[in-house]
């Protein structure tokens, strides 16, 4: 214990204090905090749009926003939440902070590129704020042609350019992670000793690198067509709007895995620690992560079953979508098996992680329903789809993000958060989420289409229930802002390893010094060496119960 707690007095937070030392920092931990500030701001901007959507849908006439404003609001919600919150959320904050710590490195391979990624992200964020303030975009986050290119009078170009620029930030961060994980692992940190969070971020980065450029090209063509009439997809010239859909979903389906894989990584750290058991089937977990990343590239057509694809193509994409569920199911079974005969404690991170597993499972199973051609034809473009992907992205990813934030909060800030408040927020998140989104499965099954500002009056009960749940969810999301903020100033000091966890990130002081470790650690053991019988554990550098 002494070797760990007797860390240097200067932490990464206090070694320099000028404003320039933050805005020009090359320290991955400070950049993680910069990203955290940016994505949190966009989380609340996207959340504000969601609030207005749910308020509008309390009344079947939808006369709060009206048709045109409603279109702009759900587009803003989609674009902001997908590209400015969900995709960067876990990788740029927890990933940035933890990857070098977990593999025993002093920093990422390219620190200037890392800082550059944050600036590019903010430039794209300013462009996004511009298109929102200038009046919004009404195409939906999917930018479908020919509406987006030939008919829409809204700010399509600004929105497309914002997302285009945002992609550079994604690629810069992903490239940095891939090179770092390949080249900067500490001695003894072999591939199969890597914590699963590192594997998850690695798989995510590969998807980011191979999918984002296709989106960039697609959006470039959309912007050129809308702005200059270079009509690559223009049916008047013989262009094919379906080609746009193929190119868009070639990115945007893998993007779903960009959002969920890091969350799976977080859950794989939290569940073994709070069950005090090694993760069940470590190798299977790594193969499953890679399998999801690879197979995820071949399922995009399931977004287009009703777009005019051939039946044969539909069957192939349906089959592939079932295949990609197999590694996802392996992960769910392995998390569950990890709990078996564990010594489980229900601290806030564990509550979030268990919530993640349950909600992701519902999202995944309804995904199988949607991958089934006859069912999809029936519920396509209804609230059933909305509920399905919110279970994966909000129930799954956001829950895991909050779980990870609480788990690593002592490491990031050096302070403990108030446990009871955090447990309350975790439970409230789970309750509020289900009240918000489960009714939407029913609404979709009853035939309520998505993207309409008004609806049949007999659907009002379920819509009011959903909006009521959203207000609970909003409170649950706002609570951490206050008690985590409080803990920054008044929380008790955290020691180096408050959770008695095995990763290398816990083998340095809380918060860590500028270059992470006093001495480069040497790794001798696999991750998750917990023993539920006597509550002992072995850290990855071989230290027992340290």
């Amino acid at each position: 214990m002494s070797a760990v707690t007797a860390g240097p007095s200067e932490t990464y937070l206090t070694n320099e204090s000028s404003i320039a030392s933050w805005f020009l920092t090359k320290d991955h931990k400070r950049i993680a905090l910069l990203f955290f500030a940016s994505v949190t701001a966009f989380f609340f901007i996207g959340g504000a749009a969601a609030t207005l959507i749910r308020l509008n849908l309390i009344n079947p006439a939808g006369n709060l926003l009206g048709a045109d404003l409603y279109n702009r609001m759900f587009t803003m919600h989609g674009i902001v939440m997908v590209w400015f919150f969900l995709i960067p959320s876990i990788p740029t904050t927890l990933g940035n902070f933890l990857i070098p710590l977990m593999i025993g490195a002093r920093d990422l391979a390219f620190p200037r590129l890392n800082l550059g990624s944050w600036y590019v992200f903010n430039i794209s964020g300013i462009l996004a704020l511009y298109f929102i303030i200038a009046g919004g975009d009404d195409t939906g986050w999917t930018f479908y042609t020919p509406y987006s290119t030939l008919f829409s009078n809204s700010h399509v170009i600004a929105a497309a350019v914002a997302v285009f620029v945002n992609g550079f930030s994604t690629i810069m961060t992903a490239l940095n992670f891939v090179v770092t994980i390949h080249r900067l692992r500490a001695p003894g940190m072999t591939w199969f000793r890597l914590p699963l969070f590192v594997w998850a971020i690695y798989a995510t980065s590969l998807v980011m690198l191979l999918a984002t450029p296709v989106l960039a090209m697609t959006l470039l063509l959309i912007a050129l067509e809308h702005g200059f009439g270079i009509g690559i997809f223009d049916p008047n010239l013989g262009g094919d709007p379906l080609l746009f859909q193929h190119m868009f979903w070639f990115y945007s389906h893998p993007a779903v895995y960009i959002m969920i894989l890091p969350a799976m990584g977080v859950a794989s750290e939290l569940i073994p620690c709070f069950a005090r058991r090694p993760v069940f089937g470590y190798r299977g977990m790594t193969y499953a992560l890679v399998a999801i990343a690879v197979v995820g590239f071949f399922v995009w057509g399931h977004h287009m079953f009703t777009s005019g694809m051939s039946v044969f193509a539909g069957i192939v994409f349906s089959f592939m979508s079932f295949i990609v569920a197999v590694p996802s199911a392996i992960k769910v079974f392995n998390w569950t098996a990890t709990l078996h005969r564990g010594s489980i404690s229900f601290d806030a991170p564990m509550l979030y992680a268990l919530g993640f597993v349950g909600l992701f499972t519902i999202g995944g199973l309804t995904g199988l329903m949607l991958a089934t051609l006859p069912i999809d034809i029936h519920v396509t473009d209804t609230y059933f789809v909305i509920a399905h992907f919110h279970y994966v992205m909000v129930g799954g990813t956001v829950s895991a993000f909050f779980g990870g934030l609480h788990y690593w909060w002592p490491k990031i800030t050096g302070r403990l958060y108030p446990e009871m408040w955090a447990r309350g927020a975790a439970i409230l998140t789970f309750i509020g989420f289900n009240i918000t989104f489960f009714p939407q499965f029913i609404l979709g099954y009853l035939g309520m289409p998505r993207r309409y500002y008004s609806y049949a009056p007999d659907l009002q009960t379920w819509n009011v229930l959903s909006s009521a749940g959203a207000s609970i969810l909003a409170i649950a999301y706002l609570m951490p802002l206050f008690y985590l903020g409080w803990s920054l100033l008044w929380g008790p000091r955290a020691n180096a390893n408050p959770w008695r966890a095995t990763g290398l990130e816990w083998r340095t002081s809380s918060p860590p010094p500028e270059h992470n470790f006093e001495r480069t650690p040497v790794v001798t053991t696999p991750p998750y060496q917990y023993n539920p019988e006597d509550d002992s554990y072995v850290a990855q550098d071989g230290a027992a119960n340290a």
Binding site: H182, L184, L220, N236, L237
Partner: protein, 212 residues
Amino acid sequence: MPNPRPEVQFATLEQQTEAAQLGMWVFLATEVLFFGALIFGYYVYRISYPDQFVLAGHDAKLLLGSINTAILVTSSLTMVAAIELVKRGEPSRAATMLFVTAMLGLAFLGVKGYEYFEDYQDHTVPLLSFVLKPREQPVVELFWMFYFVATGIHAIHLSIGIVAVLVLALHARHGRYSAAYYSPLEVLGLYWSFVDTVWLFLFAAIYPIGRA
């Protein structure tokens, strides 16, 4: 001249070099997908409208395209020669080779500009000057839109490469590189060869169509 010290996150200069090279390879993988999406779109339309694309391709300037291919392939040769000269401890001759590489890149852009001018006179520039010839249908304009988008994005990549080569040429002249340290040259060489390779794919897509 002593070797520079590795940056703080690396244990050795060798590790830093390996990281830089892997970084460029990974970046080029993203570029393959970026250009790949565009070239994929081109072939989707070419397969959908084979006869019209043959008609359109006849108006592409095969001679100018061929000259440019020769120029760019030669520039890859001089780029590799520069790296080889640094390895043999002749950085000032390497600097000369880098200047030649940059000049060849500029020559490519010059020929490309002249080709655009001929395209303009030939009324094959969408939006600015476009006239359908006999037997041509509107989809011919799609061919030319792909042509300008693809060669334009390629020219942007090449311009970035020319600036980078010139910067490294100045560095080489000032003795920044030696037989023991030339990692930036190798990394830029990868990029230059990639831009060259993209052109080979564009050339194959645009110029020989329907001329067999």
